[in-house]
Amino acid sequence: MDSGHSSSGTSSTMDSKYLPLPLVAPGHTNDSVTEKISHMTMEKETPRAWWLTFLIALGMAGGLGVAILGLLFVGIGLWGPNTPVGWGMDIINFVWWIGIGHAGTLISAILLLFKQKWRNSINRFAEAMTLAAVLCALQYPLFHTGRPWLAFYWLLPYPNTMSLWPNFRSPLIWDVFAVSTYGTVSLLFWYVGLIPDLGTLRDRAKNPIAKVLYGMASMGWRNSARHWSNYEKAYLLLAGLSTPLVLSVHTVVSFDFSVSLIPGWHATIFPPYFVAGAVFAGFAMVLNLAIPVRWIYRLEDVITMRHIENMAKVMLATGLIVAYGYFMEVFMAWYSGNFFEWFMMKNRAGGPYGWSYWLLILCNVVIPNTLWWKKARTNTIWLFIVSLFVGVGMWLERFVIIVTSLYRDFMPSSWGYYKATEFDWMFFMGTGGLFLTLMLLFVRFLPAIPMSEVKMILPGAEGRARR
């Protein structure tokens, strides 16, 4: 029964072409990983490129401040939504941001449970991205109320003297629970994962203030076996808790539309199709951030081609699920024999907003399908471009779903046209600035690559790899 070991010299050299690429470039030791990643934080001079992008991001975030002030003084009449399109850029952008966060949760939780070791150098980054994206998303439900200081009373159910409750049958109240749970668990997950690395930074810090701050944040981490044992348990439990959240959050977001009666919204495929779209957009954003950071900080040895290619594969797979969703919508609209369903579909693709539908197909279906080829998956410049297209495509998807389902409803007399205002765009750009600012601060002050977890996948550390 030893025939399996019969490989001759020629076949073993042939086999080397099938060996997976390493997850960490050869030559790294525990010390070199610590050196390399700690240097990205406060230990070295701030790169000029960082300052430049930070100033741009801060400027854009300032635009958010202006947009918010305008909104508070004038009211939400500054925004574009109006009869018959009562939902516009506010919810489009909310759904877009929430969706982007999903890659972080998927990488940290599901890939951990599936024992995918390639998650280990990109997870911290993706988790931080989740938090920043959720924060950007939250601006919309908060400020669309017009009086955000009262939002708490309107959004959360609590016993009150007037016996007023939100409508528990409305998915909008489910959203409040889904998103706040999601935000909380993501924060915990990210922070717990950071603790060992914060301990390392505390020990290395020269600046006394930094030492105290990192020391407080590391919660007395001493790297003892007991600490590691508790840490691993907590991490695994949080992964278990986060896993259903990957599905639940965007499922509830999809219910915002699908439980209604509007053709184009009322489709049973919405939950899985929204979840796949969220992961799709999220991975595109991770690539859009990881590729430049990898280049600026010369991280090719810890974010290797294998990471990049695997992310491209996840993007292709989720993109195909999304494409399946588009196809099912068209097929069922036709198969249903329902006049309004079929009218909506024809109007979506051939009406005044038809351009948005075809642009969406180009961005989300045509271009990502180039990723079937290994050459496309391993060319970082092309991959960066594809990811940009996916980001735009997923934004267009929400635009198409929301606007083209609403602007021509059952009664031709009430048809209208939606146009976003300058304030809509300023608000959106502003959230983009907020997102970038937060990510840049994160990269500067905290280890963007988890040192402790990269060490676990160094050669010779197999036994300690996270199970």
């Binding site: 439980v259 489709a267 024999g337």
Partner: protein, 409 residues
Amino acid sequence: MSAHPSHEEPVAAATASTAPVPVVSLRRIAGLVALAASAAALTGFSNPQQLVQSYLPAFLLWFGVSIGCLSMLMIQHQSGGHWGILLRRLFEAGARTIYFMPLFFLPILFGMAYLYPWADPVRIAGDHHLAEVVHKKGAYLNVPFFTARAVLYFAFWAFMARTLTAFSWKYDETGDREYAEKMRRMSGWGLLAQALVITFAGVDWGMSLDPHWYSTIWGILFMVGQALSAWCLCIMVVSRLYTHAPLNRVATSTLFHDLGKFLFAFVMLWGYVNLSQFLIIWSGNLPEETSWYLDRSRNGWRTLTFVLVGLHFFLPFLTLLSAGLKKNASRLAVVAGLLFSLRFVDLFWNVAPNFKHEHFSVHPFDLLMPVAVGGAWLYLFARQLERAPLLVKHDPQVHEMEELAAHAH
């Protein structure tokens, strides 16, 4: 490679004599059951309508196992993982039973008028609502196109099952990694095509039972159900085989733990997809959609609905939370067996209310048919299992698994 003409199936390395005992007894028992149950079904020829209507859910269950095996085979080629090595030969054998499924499809083809209102001219003539729908959907729902589509589906499935197995056997024979790459590449586009084919087959054979009704998630419902059926069956079979050579070289409790986790995930997914469909349709409350759920929530069908929610979701969900149970092959097989029988209940619940929405009833044939089809299916499955060794020979993961198993013992 060029010495073999491509239309000739490569010969597998094993002969029937090397198959483990449980496979041989499965073949014998299943064959006898199939014969006995088919003989009993012969009494039903005086009532062909009942016969065909009882046959459809049984067909959908067992044909679904074949298709689920094919899907899982492609998924494991793409994803990798030790579970894929443990179950690969089971998936391949299950997928190859698809060669015989066109025969199993014949009763449906010949009994179409009893099953699908749109294929019954008498009913169309007497019901103007139906006539209107058939007029609207006639381009899709007509007998020649329906038949042509079925031919296309079976051709695709047979091609995939045959080619993937041929590569796998060639890999055993030659040890050339190129075959592993071929299987992986083929599974990539194969899964995409598989999703579309399952969706259309699901619409044709399941959804069009009620020509008024439609639901965009239906295809995914079918995919998840089939994967779950195949997974349950493979757990039951492997729980009997893992103590015998050759699987005893690689089987560990960790592997069964993984199989249990996947089972848990599939149960959750089944619940998720069904809840999504229900919640959206219930909330919309449109007459053309909600009638489907109304049929299943009254006249006795309601009880069956709750049985499904309780036994197809909550019971396996709660029992599979236990790590100890998942690591224990025989206990895991009990849960898988229960779920497998519930797979039939689910398909019966999907199909039968279309025929008898006035009141809930179970005809003896409803219970006989899954046994008859199942006996025949399992007989074919066992015969396919005997055609190749149960463990692949050259995959690098086999050696990892053997080492892990040696440490575990």
